[in-house]
């Protein structure tokens, strides 16, 4: 098996051999098993067949906009049967797990984030600082601070304002206050080739304001894999990571010692993968996948036998 970022096209017997050697398959979601509200053709069948073959399947997504129970509904809606909540690892869920289990936060977290993140924090029992919207006299120059806040978490937030940025910055003046970001994605693709700003662009604002670097929970950081490993017995050497974004999914797989597959139904292209493969810089080489497929449906040829 060529596990060295060689961008080898997967076909024929190679697919079967690869699947035989792996027990765990980790899928990114957007651009891999679905695009928006449309499943990638063949993806539901691939997931189902992998499970029938006794493989453990996990879904590892940087998208923090939904709580896990909403993801379960989306899976069902798009034709994926039997996907359990426990198999879904989103950056929102993992950020809450980090605060509760790794940081063991004693105090509240000030959140710049959306409903999905708030729900996961509440479900994990992590106290969230309440946002007082229409406070008389509050401005970007004088905003009241909650003395119980011991962490700041930043993620995708469509209600992001300068006021939130100023407030978060005030909390981060204390070096003991933790600084977390759900994921580093600068933008997210939407239907029709358009894009929308991602968590990474909001994190950049806060890092610049505070002169501090955030601890990033999502891919390519290892934490989401450590989160999976804390709940399930996963051997990296027997695990496969399938993603569409070289700088997040493939680098994540590489950082965790997983075999990596790039699928071409999402963000990154084969050309970009080859540039990383041929680079002299070690960090860039880690963004080159071991294997490349056109779509996850390519696995059907091996699974249907």
């Amino acid at each position: 098996m060529a596990d060295n970022g060689g961008c080898v096209t997967l076909r024929g017997a190679l697919i079967r051999d690869l699947l035989d050697s792996k027990h765990n398959v980790l899928f990114d979601c957007d651009g891999v098993i679905w695009n928006g509200e449309t499943a990638v053709t063949g993806a539901p069948e691939v997931v189902s067949l992998l499970k029938q073959r006794g493989k453990r399947v996990f879904f590892v997504t940087n998208n923090c906009t939904r709580p896990r129970e909403n993801y379960v509904q989306k899976f069902s809606r798009l034709g994926f049967t039997d996907v359990a909540e426990e198999e879904i690892f989103s950056s929102a869920y993992c950020s809450a797990a980090y605060l509760r289990d790794v940081a063991r936060l004693e105090g509240k977290v000030y959140v710049i984030g959306c409903g999905g993140v708030m729900k996961e924090l509440r479900d994990a029992g992590v106290p969230v600082a309440e946002e007082e919207d229409a406070e008389p006299g509050a401005s970007i120059y004088t905003c009241p601070l909650d003395p119980d806040v011991k962490a700041v978490l930043v993620g995708y937030d469509e209600n992001f304002t300068f006021m939130k940025l100023a407030k978060a910055c005030c909390y981060l003046r204390s070096p003991e206050c933790l600084f977390l970001a759900t994921d580093p994605d600068p933008w997210h693709p939407l239907r029709g080739g358009r894009v929308t700003p991602g968590s990474g662009s909001l994190t950049a604002a806060l890092e610049t304001a505070s002169s501090r670097k955030a601890t990033v929970i999502g891919k390519p950081s290892r934490f989401m894999f450590d989160c999976i490993a804390s709940q399930f017995d996963v051997d990296p050497a027997r695990s496969l990571m399938i993603g569409d974004r070289l700088e997040t999914d493939v680098l994540f797989g590489s950082n965790c010692g997983l075999t990596t597959v790039l699928t071409l139904t999402g963000v990154s292209t084969l050309e970009e993968a080859l540039v990383y493969r041929d680079s002299q810089e070690p960090q860039k080489k880690h963004c080159a996948p071991d294997y490349v497929i056109e779509s996850v449906a390519d696995f059907l040829q091996a699974l249907d036998e």
Partner: protein, 306 residues
């Protein structure tokens, strides 16, 4: 050259330094005032410099006031200043878009009303100023209606900065022919009493990250802001002194443009930081070493009155 850098400006050294320059460029925050309080003695220095025949300019990265608003503030604090001597990044961005980008079209502006005025003053029409809260759902945002006359995105300080504004800027910047200009990279905006709030740098970094593009930055330490002054007044860099409180903007600008530099210790940077830069091997850090430093600009007064 390098060996005589970072020297305390004594009264004895002040006289020859002043004789060697015709123009003195002052940063404002942390040099002439702090918030709304003038640095004691600063106005006497400015006014004496002018009386002795030196040209004086006010060069600031702040984009929230027009040149006239700055001149008014300077006047209130006792400084003899006219609008033509003020170079803020609102005005300089407008000049940059007009003369360097040769903008033919509108600009999507993340910035203040003051910036809007400076743009309109040079005949450029901005769109987008003011509050812009989110509406609709995610799939609507990539499809918000764009003004097809917009040919540039300009980012300055904007207290109404929001996700929707970030999104609009991103949509325009997806077109590689759309120009991308920023007023400055300062991470914080100083307020009175030593307080700070996030600065334009945060807003600009946010837009750069989403768009995966770098802005052309007009303010210090970019050369452009000096060239703006120099081209209007025919300045010779070797006969100019830059006085500022920040090593990474004011002093760097001076080094980049070949000006003499004086660090005033009434603001952000310290002598220790300057000396650390001086000892460093890094060429970039070497540019952040002033020729001279002084406790306060007020300390120049004795040499002027002598």
């Amino acid at each position: 050259m390098a060996s005589s850098k970072c020297t305390r400006l004594t009264e004895a050294l002040s006289r020859p330094l002043l004789d060697s320059v015709d123009s003195v460029l002052f940063d404002c925050d942390g040099v002439l005032w702090r918030g709304d309080q003038a640095i004691p003695g600063a106005s006497e220095v400015i006014n004496s410099l002018k009386k002795s025949g030196k040209q004086v300019f006010f060069v600031t990265n702040n984009s929230s006031k027009t040149r006239q608003m700055y001149a008014d503030k300077l006047g209130k604090l006792g400084f003899d200043a006219s609008k033509d001597e003020v170079f803020g990044t609102g005005y300089c961005s407008a000049m940059y878009l007009k003369n360097v980008c040769k903008l033919d079209g509108k600009v999507y502006l993340i910035g203040s009303n003051a910036m809007r005025q400076e743009l309109e003053y040079v005949g450029i029409q901005p769109v987008g100023v003011g509050p812009d809260p989110i509406s609709g759902v995610q799939k609507d945002w990539a499809n918000i209606p764009l003004d097809n006359e917009v040919r540039a995105v300009l980012v300055g300080f904007d207290e109404h900065f929001s996700y929707m504004k970030l999104n609009r800027a991103l949509q325009y910047l997806c077109n590689p022919d759309c120009q991308f200009v920023g007023t400055n990279m300062d991470a914080t905006l100083p307020l009175e009493g030593g307080k700070t709030i996030p600065g334009t740098g945060c807003i600009l970094r946010s837009v750069e990250t989403a768009a995966q593009r770098q802005a052309q930055v007009v303010g210090k330490p970019s050369n452009f802001i000096f060239e703006c002054v120099a081209s209007q007044f025919g300045l010779n860099p070797e006969r100019c002194l830059m006085v500022g409180d920040r090593l990474d903007t004011d002093i760097m600008l001076g080094s980049n443009c070949g000006l003499k530099t004086l660090l005033a210790l009434t603001g952000v940077s310290t002598v220790a930081e300057a000396e650390a830069n001086q000892k460093s091997e890094c060429p970039q850090r070497q540019k952040m070493v002033p020729d001279y430093y002084i406790e306060s600009v007020a300390d120049i007064l004795p040499a002027l009155q002598a």
